[in-house]
Assembly symmetry: C2
Homo-oligomer: 106 residues x 2
DNA sequence: TTGATGTGCAACACAATCGTTGCACTAGAA
DNA sequence: TTCTAGTGCAACGATTGTGTTGCACATCAA
């Protein structure tokens, strides 16, 4: 599955914060709750929860309710889809810019 | 070439702005100057120039001086490198989280 | 029930970002 | 030289984002 071009900047904005990136990497090792993550980070639980909400809206993490606990889990397929889209776009750039360069030299 | 994990959030932050994303896509079709790009966008030349500077610092575009004109060009290889890094990370997630899931079920 | 734990929501302060306008400088054209 | 076109730098205002604290609510255990 590919990702709509319109939503790509939104996904990147979610990834473009140091704290969020650390939280994501952490969730890539094992699921955890906001409280657990906050205990491992130098910021408050509410701040962590806000970051997780951003990641969830971007489709990068999903939640799983366990009793009164909400566990967050990283979604690898979403990151893979992002990577695929990026690669496709990059190839398009190369092709067009090479054509222009060749035309300028020819 | 891969990109240092430390600089990944910085690159994504550069990509995570709608205006910058549009500028990048435009530069993916053909090189252009800040003035030219500003004429195609609803924002001032100075605003465009600032965005281009952010993209340049992130390594996503490069400059080429032509007389008194500075032309910007998208760097496809950098975007490809980002895509590769993302895919590698995503695969790592899948592997670890699958292991945990299997252990929980077993 | 009682107490402790995990969340969610709201209000606030602080910093960073994005866009603007204005001015000065430089390089090419007349 | 004189005029025009393209940049760069600085100051300002408005908006957004990140973090905080405080409080209320829900859930599990004793």
């Amino acid at each position: 599955m590919t990702i709509g071009t319109e939503s790509l900047p939104a996904a990147f904005a979610a990834l473009g914060d140091d704290t969020r990136w650390e939280l994501l990497q952490r969730l890539g090792t094992a699921p955890a709750s906001a409280t657990t993550l906050a205990a491992e980070q130098p910021i408050s639980r509410q701040a962590v929860a806000r970051h997780l909400e951003v990641l969830r809206e971007a489709g990068l993490v999903e939640t799983e309710v366990h009793g009164r606990e909400v566990r967050y889990r990283a979604i690898g397929s979403r990151l893979s889809a992002l990577a695929r889209d990026l690669d496709t776009i990059a190839q398009g750039w190369e092709r067009r810019l090479q054509t222009i360069k060749a035309a300028a030299e020819g």
